[in-house]
């Protein structure tokens, strides 16, 4: 990637000797912005090419709208009623977010318990796998029966989907401490709690964020799937009603909205990760 003039000038400033770089803020912010652009621009170009190809195909092959609508129709539907899709999108986002937080919290607690007890690990891990492989289709109706028609079953489904990857990674992360640092803590007679809070927890953050990158989009899917089973709100509801009505432009517009949500969340996660893990190898290379 081309370096901007500003970045090139920065490298000639005093204090930029090898082994000694200037302190975090200015250069970090610039690099985050450039990184974000670096991700967005190629992706946007690719999306554009895809859309053009799609529109051409639909027109040339005379594909009927009820099979696949062309992107122009979809965009017209989407932007012709932004409030509608934004409103439902906000619902899905809220359910996914709440589910993600709930699932992550329970997962981190479980992982913390497991990190201190091999026995507990041997009990909880298989249970978590069972939860993971159980198809949502089977348990969603039960959730509706038990938790009603509102947001609760959707939040729970999103939480369940989030749980497994976060728990597994948190478990690995809590154990993956630098042995030298562990020795240091032991040499200072640190208590188990101190080791957990001051060493294991920060060490596990890179692993946690790796799990978040997976769990964040998954939680959106979980919320959407929940919305297929009950309720009138959310993009999942829009999708199933549109599917029922063979209203493909609305269906695809809802999918586009989900894509926008997914990409935004991923970027947001990346941003938070970069700010929190500025010290980690993955961002220093």
């Amino acid at each position: 990637m081309e370096r901007s003039a500003r970045q090139q000038r920065a490298e000639h400033l005093p204090g930029h000797e090898p082994g000694v770089t200037r302190a975090a803020s200015g250069r970090l912010r610039l690099s985050i912005r450039l990184a974000a652009l670096g991700y967005l621009v190629p992706a946007a170009m690719a999306a554009l090419v895809l859309m053009v190809g799609w529109e051409l195909w639909v027109r040339l092959a005379d594909v009927p709208v009820y099979i696949v609508p062309g992107p122009l129709k979809v965009l017209r539907r989407l932007f012709g009623d932004v409030g509608f899709f934004a409103g439902h999108g906000a619902t899905t986002l809220m359910e996914a977010g709440a589910g993600f937080l709930l699932g992550s919290l329970v997962a981190v607690i479980a992982a913390t318990l497991m990190a201190h007890s091999r026995l507990l690990e041997r009990i909880l891990l298989p249970l978590a796998v069972v939860v993971k492989v159980t198809p949502i289709v089977a348990i969603a109706p039960l959730f509706v029966i038990w938790f009603g028609f509102g947001s609760a079953p959707k939040i729970l489904i999103a939480a369940i989907i989030t749980f497994f990857p976060v728990m597994v990674n948190a478990n690995v992360g809590l154990r993956a401490v630098d042995p030298g640092s562990l020795d240091l803590f032991k040499s200072l007679h640190a208590s188990k709690t101190e080791i957990l809070l001051k060493l294991r927890a920060p060490s596990s953050l890179p692993y946690l964020f790796a799990a978040f990158r997976i769990a964040v989009p998954l939680s959106v899917i979980g919320a959407v799937v929940g919305e297929w089973f009950t309720g009138d709100q959310g993009l999942g509801s829009v999708i199933i009603v549109a599917h029922n009505d063979l209203d493909t432009p609305t269906l695809f517009a809802a999918i586009f909205s989900l894509a926008i949500i997914g990409v935004s969340l991923t970027l947001a996660t990346f941003y938070v990760e970069k700010r929190t893990l500025f010290w980690h190898n993955s961002f220093l290379a």
Binding site: G19, V20, T21, A23, A24, D178, G180, S181, D183, L184, F185, K186, S187, L188, H189, A190, S191, E194, K198, L199, P202, L205, F278, W279, H280, L284
Partner: protein, 253 residues
């Protein structure tokens, strides 16, 4: 000593006087690190005991009377230099008071006063090791146990760091036990050099280093220095040849 069948150390009689700088040298695998960890209370000996000014190592640890420096600085990458140095005070400080000023002073002592807010990934290897020193010193321990602390540095940095370390020691006198495999380093820095044999480690001999302080780089070419180096080498060679168990330490000259 970990429950495995490996005997790293055989019988060892070891003593250091208050304020003395003792080096422990020996071939790899000879139990030097084990000895250090036993002294510091990080490992329990299968027999025998350790006393630090009359207390058990664990108690000395609790009172922060022992400082450790390992070969890898093991700084916490998410903390600044200042926060890393403070760490040894903050952990388990139930029995010891926090002296916040000490942090700043020690960072200055090791020559890093500009870099208090820097993070480890922004520092060179030598600088990181200096932070590790400051961290070990911040609780003002009476004993400093160092296991090849300059081992991960390049030759040039290593040499200059030796003299800086000596300067710090002269300013803040402590009992130091330094494990090293550099003969020059051992002779240059210590009051006494203890030579260990290969595994299972035993004390092969001890050599008093009577060279005057402060010691400077020019000393490395002095004939007295080179003679001491030779004597250490002899003991090392002797230790490498020993195979069976027998008695304790050989008398040094």
């Amino acid at each position: 000593m970990d429950g495995t069948a490996l005997t790293a150390l055989a019988e060892v009689d070891f003593a250091a006087r208050r304020g003395e700088f003792v080096s422990v040298i020996g071939p790899s695998g000879g139990g030097k690190t084990t000895l250090l960890k036993v002294i510091g209370g990080l490992l329990q000996p299968t027999s025998g005991n350790v006393a630090i000014d009359g207390s058990r190592p664990e108690d000395a640890q609790l009172l922060k009377r022992i400082g450790f420096v390992f070969q890898e600085p093991a700084l916490l990458p998410w903390k600044t230099v200042t926060q890393n140095v403070r760490l040894s005070m903050e952990i388990n400080h139930g029995k010891t008071p926090l002296d916040m000023g000490a942090t700043g002073r020690l960072i200055e002592t090791v020559g890093l006063d500009q870099f208090g807010d820097y993070y480890p990934h922004q520092l060179s290897g030598g600088m990181r090791q200096r932070v590790a020193f400051a961290r070990a010193l911040v609780t003002d321990p009476e004993v400093l146990l160092m296991d090849e602390p300059l081992g991960s540095l390049d030759e040039i940095t290593r040499t200059s760091m030796r003299y800086e370390l000596l300067k710090v020691w002269e300013a803040l006198p402590k009992t130091i036990v330094l494990v090293t495999h550099s003969i020059t380093e051992a002779v240059m820095m210590s009051d006494r050099v203890v030579v260990l044999s290969s595994r299972p480690g035993r004390v092969v001999g001890e050599i008093s280093i009577g060279l005057p302080r402060p010691r400077e780089e020019a000393l490395e070419r002095a004939p007295e220095f080179l003679e001491l180096v030779d004597r250490v080498k002899e003991l090392l060679a002797l230790g490498a040849k020993r195979t069976t168990t027998a008695g304790g330490a050989l008398a040094g000259s």
